[in-house]
Amino acid sequence: MKWLLLSLRIALGAVFLYAAYAKLIAPWYLFAGNIDSYQMVPSWASEWIARTLPAFELVLGLVLVIGWKLRYAAAVSGILLLGFWLSMATAYARGLAIDCGCFGSGEAVSKFTLLRDGALVAIAAVLWYFSRKRHAVS
């Protein structure tokens, strides 16, 4: 169990690190365009999210990988991923054929991206649950 939880924590952290890397190597406005295409927030919010989220994902990925404050890191990850899932599900239900913006540009919102994000939410929930119960996960 300990090794499984350790693997899940590092895997989730690596996903956040890769997501941050993919966004940070491209100009911020490409990601802002991805956010805009969801048509859920005003353009000033798209810009703010595009400028701050990649750095936040980077920090969250590092915190998960090193295992610091895991209970909080898992909770924040879960809430963030749930937010992504809800945004994608809404876009998918509205029939918007758009880039998910998950790892930079080039991947459309699909059943696969919804399943993948749902699995990540589940991983974050498992990590939060076991860290809350003071089980050893590092």
Binding site: W44, S46, A97, D99
Partner: protein
């Protein structure tokens, strides 16, 4: 965008001579914006009606960008191809932009009714309408639409609307609706390179 696809697309763009009826701005502008639209897609309507007028006024009309329109009707939209045919048939009377603007503005109506002809008739004179209708079945329209579709495929298009900004052989694809405030910052940054 995949490197090979981008190379093909750039080669196509470099040798393309966009029709003045399907482009806005100076042909010697430093930045090219290829706009791929499906006249039945609601985000395309938003981009066409909300974002592009400001880009035309502040960038194309000032010689900073050349905007080239491409039709990319998606098979999932039952009237999209017919709408693209009407707009391209109107090239015969040099009214592509007028017809496409009218079709975007009345999109909810003709999507519901399927009656595109009456929308087109609002911006064409009877004589222009007659000429346009005569060109509706032209093979040249199929060729033009196929050319746009092939270019979109080469550029790795996955959705409409898509804007592909090209500056100094570097491409920046924007998929989906994008607001003017973000596109403006992107164009300013890209043009400064």
């Amino acid at each position: 965008m995949k490197p090979l696809a981008a190379l093909f697309a750039l080669a196509a763009l470099a040798f393309a001579d966009p029709s003045p009826d399907k482009s806005v701005g100076s042909k010697i502008a430093p930045t090219l914006i290829d706009v791929f639209l499906d006249m039945q897609c609601p985000p395309c309507r938003m981009l066409h009606d909300q974002t592009l007028p400001d880009v035309i006024a502040n960038y194309a009309d000032k010689g900073k960008v050349l905007i080239v329109y491409h039709d990319f009707p998606l098979p999932i939209h039952n009237h999209a191809l017919e709408a693209a045919r009407w707009a391209n048939a109107a090239l015969s009377v040099h009214k592509y932009k007028e017809v496409s603007t009218a079709l975007f503005k009345a999109q909810p109506q003709w999507v519901a009714s399927g009656d595109l002809r009456s929308v087109v008739a609002t911006v064409l004179s009877p004589a222009e309408m007659k000429t346009t209708e005569a060109h509706l079945k032209d093979a040249s329209i199929d060729a033009s639409l196929d050319k746009d579709r092939q270019l979109g495929i080469q550029m790795g298009l996955k959705q409409t609307p898509t804007l592909v900004v090209t500056h100094k052989l570097q491409t920046y694809p924007f998929g989906g609706f994008i607001s003017y405030s973000i596109l403006k910052q992107a164009l300013d940054d890209i043009n400064s390179k």
